[in-house]
């Protein structure tokens, strides 16, 4: 199911592109914010949860997910170079699965690790907040990668749709319309964080069983559907 050559090409394409600068910028920004908050406010569990929940999980993880998920396949489809992967006796779902693993690894590396470091800086993992948000970031990385990889496979405007989902649906509607939170990867991940963190430190609107089921179903369905779409990918000529 995992094709090392596809993975190597995907890693190099993802990390070599200019867009990859955001992969480094966002975590750096999070660390800077964490240091500044720690110096100004001192150790405060509530503030630590606000920073990790409000910036790391709500903004940084989905943005990195968009870049890694759509970037793992979208540009190759756009410029047609995917033809070199497709014209091989390699099952198309294998290509999708491999790219998903790469997207997950990149999203985790650039979101979960900085989240953990920022958590340690903010309150030294008091009330398990650093660990809780790190786990949330890890879990969210998987679902975001799968959803945005699917977007990258089916649409040329994947980045725009990804940003609309992450910023408009999750951030805006999620804060205004309670029902929207049930359909939000961020909230599903938060429900895990809620279980790990000390009582009352972190709150989520979705129950843990619902969250886990939704995470598994969405990740699985998105990956399967992306594989099917790639099997039928049409490369029209320039004519």
């Amino acid at each position: 199911m995992y094709e090392p050559t596809v993975a190597r090409l995907t890693y190099r394409a993802l990390l070599g592109r200019r867009r990859a600068a955001i992969l480094f910028l966002l975590p750096a920004l999070l660390i800077v914010i964490a240091v500044a908050v720690r110096m100004l406010v001192g150790v405060d569990d509530g503030v630590a949860a606000d920073v990790l929940g409000g910036f790391a999980l709500a903004t940084m993880v989905p943005l990195i997910g968009v870049i890694a998920g759509t970037g793992a396949i979208g540009p190759e489809i756009d410029d047609g170079s995917i033809v070199y992967l497709l014209s091989k006796p390699v099952k198309r779902p294998t290509i999708i699965f491999t790219k998903l693993i790469v997207a997950i690894a990149v999203t985790m590396a650039f979101s979960a690790i900085p989240t953990f470091i920022a958590g340690l800086i903010l309150n030294g993992n008091g009330s398990q907040i650093a660990i809780a948000y790190t786990v949330a970031a890890l879990v969210a990385s998987i679902a975001y990668s799968a959803v945005f990889l699917l977007l990258g496979t089916v649409s040329r405007h994947a980045v725009v749709f990804g940003l609309v989902y992450a910023l408009v649906w999750e951030a805006l509607f999620g804060s205004l319309v309670p029902g929207a939170r049930t359909l939000s990867i961020q909230q599903w991940a938060l429900s895990l964080a809620e279980k790990i963190g000390a009582d009352g430190a972190i709150a989520s609107d979705v129950g843990l069983p619902t969250a886990v089921i939704l995470l598994v179903v969405v990740t699985g369905l998105a990956t399967w559907y992306a594989g099917q779409k790639l099997r039928s990918l049409t490369l029209a000529g320039d004519e």
């Binding site: 050559t5 090409l9 047609g80 070199y84 497709l86 990918l233 049409t234 490369l235 000529g237 320039d238």
Partner: protein, 303 residues
């Protein structure tokens, strides 16, 4: 022996019909797919390469459908027209990656790079390559697994004459080895030099098929039109019309010229200067007025 069969295949994009009810069989040897730009050559090659489903009809490799069938790529090598490659890799890394995707090792990649004579630049980034170099590395990537079928979409575009000769030699050799080599081109001379068998596509339709000489004759025997200006148009017209190679002459007073329709191309081109000389007429302009490839092709369609 490996054969691609296209049977009653059509492909449309929305309301536009790109390929219209085409039936052809591509067997061993070099076949040229000839047609003007926009005729549907790329659409056909994409269907043969498994990157496009026929809207109607079938496209098969030795009887097996090509669409949604990854196993055909053990037999097929594809050289796409589009330029995009993995520019951040070196030529060697690119070909090695292609070999690995076939389950082969670096040795296969080196052999393919040697075949296209790109070893000297294999450690340079693809991004720094000229168009001809890219074309050759693309070719190497299609050859790594020693395929029985090679599909090339406009392979000579952007190549200089020397590179063109090299690639033609290579394709000729591969055809001679019994491989099925199909390349598309909109340039008559390219096809003439390389392919013994040609398929002509015009406006999505299969216009002609067969031996190149036969089709070439069809092309040269068609009525040719010329615009001629001379020191005495009417005297020239009278002398020319007496010969059976001339089918009709119109005196175009607005242009101040003769519009001549010739039926026997070879004979007419010899006749014209002889007649002019015999009657002491000076030829000022002799201009073919329908030599564009499109008009040649459209003639073929109606022939």
């Amino acid at each position: 022996m490996t054969t691609i069969d296209i049977t009653k295949a059509s492909r449309w994009f929305g309301n536009v019909v790109a390929v219209n009810d085409v039936t052809m069989s591509i067997g061993p040897g070099v076949t040229g797919l000839l047609g003007p730009n926009g005729a549907g050559k790329s659409t056909l090659i994409n269907m043969m390469g498994g990157f496009l489903a026929p809207s109607n009809g079938t496209v098969t490799l030795d009887g097996n459908p090509i669409w949604r069938n990854e196993s055909v790529y053990k037999e097929i090598g594809v050289v796409p027209e589009r330029e995009a490659m993995y520019d951040f890799l070196t030529g060697r890394e690119f070909v090695v990656a292609n070999a690995e995707l076939h389950g082969l090792d670096e040795q296969a990649a080196q052999k393919a790079l040697a075949t296209v004579e790109m070893e000297y630049a294999q450690d340079r980034k693809v991004a720094t390559y000229s168009k001809g170099m890219r074309q050759r590395v693309k070719m190497a990537s299609a050859l790594v697994h020693d395929p029985a079928v090679l599909l090339l979409d406009e392979p000579f575009n952007g190549m200089d004459p020397r590179q063109r000769m090299q690639l033609m030699d290579l394709l000729r050799r591969m055809g001679g080895e019994g491989r099925t080599v199909l390349f598309s081109s909109h340039i008559l001379e390219e096809v003439e030099q390389l392919a013994s068998h040609i398929e002509v596509i015009v406006a999505g339709r299969h216009a002609a098929s067969g031996d190149f000489r036969k089709i070439r004759r069809l092309m040269t025997d068609r009525p040719h039109r010329y615009l001629v200006r001379s020191s005495d148009d009417r005297a020239l017209a009278a002398a020319l019309i007496a010969d059976p190679s001339t089918a009709g002459i119109e005196v175009d007073r607005a242009e101040g010229a003769l519009r001549i329709q010739a039926v026997d191309f070879g004979r007419f081109t010899e006749l014209l200067p002889q007649v002019a000389r015999a009657h002491g007429i000076r030829l000022l302009t002799v201009q073919p007025s329908d030599e564009s490839l499109e008009s040649v092709f459209s003639y073929l369609v109606t022939a």
